[in-house]
Symmetry: C2
Subunit: 186 residues, 2 copies
DNA sequence: ATTGTAAGTAAGTGGTTACTTACATAGGAG
DNA sequence: CTCCTATGTAAGTAACCACTTACTTACAAT
C-alpha cells in the first residue's frame, strides 16, 4: 500500500467517525503512520483530501457495476434489493460521511449525493421496467417507494442507529417490500 | 419573545445550516441580536445550548400528539402517512441537525434518534394493528417497510437534496406506498 | 559518486474559538 | 432613592488547527 493510499484509508476512517470538521489532519496523519507534513505534501489541503476520499471510496461505481438480474416477477426485485443492500453495507462509512456532510459543506457533498440517487433510481427503473408492465409514471413512483424503503431502512438502522442487521432480517424486509410492490402476487 | 427564546431560535437556525462544529457561538449571538456574553450567561456552554435546542424543537412531541385516525383499510394508512409527513416537514431543521450529528457526537444525538424511531414505529403499529388482521411479526415488518419508505423519501428528497416536494407528489407517493402495503386492495 | 525522490523532524505562523473577567448601564420594584 | 436583575462592552486567555518553512535523512537510479 502506497503512502497516499494509507493516508486515504486513515482519512476515510476518521471522517466517517468524527465528520469533516471533527477530524484533524494530525489525527489522520498519525493513524496513517506518516507525518503531517507528508499529508500536506501529497494532498495540498484538508478539503482536497476530503474530495479524494469521496471519490476513492464512493459507492456509486459499486451500484453501476450491478448487473440487472433476469428472471420473472417478484424474485427479481428481491434479488436486486439484496444486491443493492449489500453494496450499501459494504460502503457504510462512505455513506456516513456523505450523509453527515451533505447538508453543511458547500454543495461539495450534495452533488455526490444527487448523483448517488440518480444512479440508484436508474438501476431500479431498468429492473422494474423489465418486470412490471406499467406506464412510465407509475413505474417511477414504484421505484421511488422501493428505493426510499431500502435506503431508509439501511440508513435508519445501520447508519444512524449503528445496528448490525442480520442477513435474515434484511432478507425478510426486502421480501415483504418486494411482494408489496409486486402487488402481493407470488 | 424572551432573550433565551431568541437565542434558542437563532441557534436552531445556525445548527441546522452549518452543523454543530460549523456553528460559532458568536454567529448565534449575532443572529439573536444579543452579546456573546449573554449567551454564555444563559446557557453556560455551547454543548448545553445544543442540548436545549434538541429538546426545544424536537419532532417527537408532534408525533406523539398525532391521533391515530379511525376508518377502514388503505385510507387510514394514507391518512396517517400524510400526518406524519407533515410533522416531519414542519421540523425539517430539527431532523437536519439530528441526522448530521447522530453519527459524530457522543451519543448525545443518537439517543434522541433512537427515541424518534421508537415513537414513529409505535404510532404506526397502533394504526396498522387496527387495520390489518395479521400476526404481530408480519405487522411489525410492514410497519418497518412503511416507516422506512416514508422516512427515506422525506430525508432523501427534502433533507439531503434540499428539494421542496409538492403536496401532490407527497400524496402520490404515500398513496402508492399505502396501497402496496395494504395488498393492492382499495 | 552524484543526483533525485520520498519521507521525516522541528519549529513556527496566523487565525479562530469557546469561554472568562471586570466593569458599566439601564430599568423596574420596593 | 436604592437595590436587583438583565444586559452590554472591552479585553483577554488558553487552546487548537490548518498549513508553512527550513533543514535533514534514507535510498534508489544513473
Amino acid at each position: 500500500m502506497t503512502t497516499k493510499e494509507r493516508i486515504l484509508k486513515a482519512a476515510y476512517s476518521c471522517f466517517s467517525r468524527r465528520g469533516y470538521l471533527g477530524t484533524t489532519t494530525r489525527e489522520v496523519a498519525h493513524l496513517a503512520g506518516v507525518s503531517e507534513v507528508t499529508l500536506f505534501r501529497l494532498f495540498g489541503s484538508k478539503k482536497e483530501l476530503f474530495r479524494e476520499v469521496l471519490i476513492n471510496f464512493s459507492v456509486i461505481p459499486d451500484l453501476r457495476s450491478i448487473s440487472p438480474p433476469n428472471g420473472s416477477g417478484c424474485e427479481v426485485l428481491i434479488d436486486i434489493g439484496l444486491k443493492i443492500y449489500s453494496s450499501l453495507r459494504e460502503k457504510k462509512e462512505f455513506l456516513k460521511i456523505l450523509l453527515s456532510e451533505v447538508t453543511g459543506l458547500t454543495g461539495e457533498a450534495e452533488e455526490v449525493y444527487v448523483s448517488f440517487v440518480e444512479t440508484l433510481e436508474t438501476l431500479l427503473l431498468s429492473v422494474f421496467s423489465s418486470v412490471l408492465a406499467l406506464p412510465q409514471g407509475e413505474l417511477k413512483l414504484k421505484v421511488k417507494v422501493f428505493g426510499a424503503a431500502l435506503f431508509g431502512f439501511f440508513t435508519s438502522e445501520e447508519v444512524f442507529q449503528g445496528k448490525e442487521i442480520s442477513s435474515e432480517e434484511v432478507r425478510s424486509f426486502i421480501e415483504v417490500l418486494s411482494r408489496s410492490i409486486c402487488g402481493g402476487k407470488e
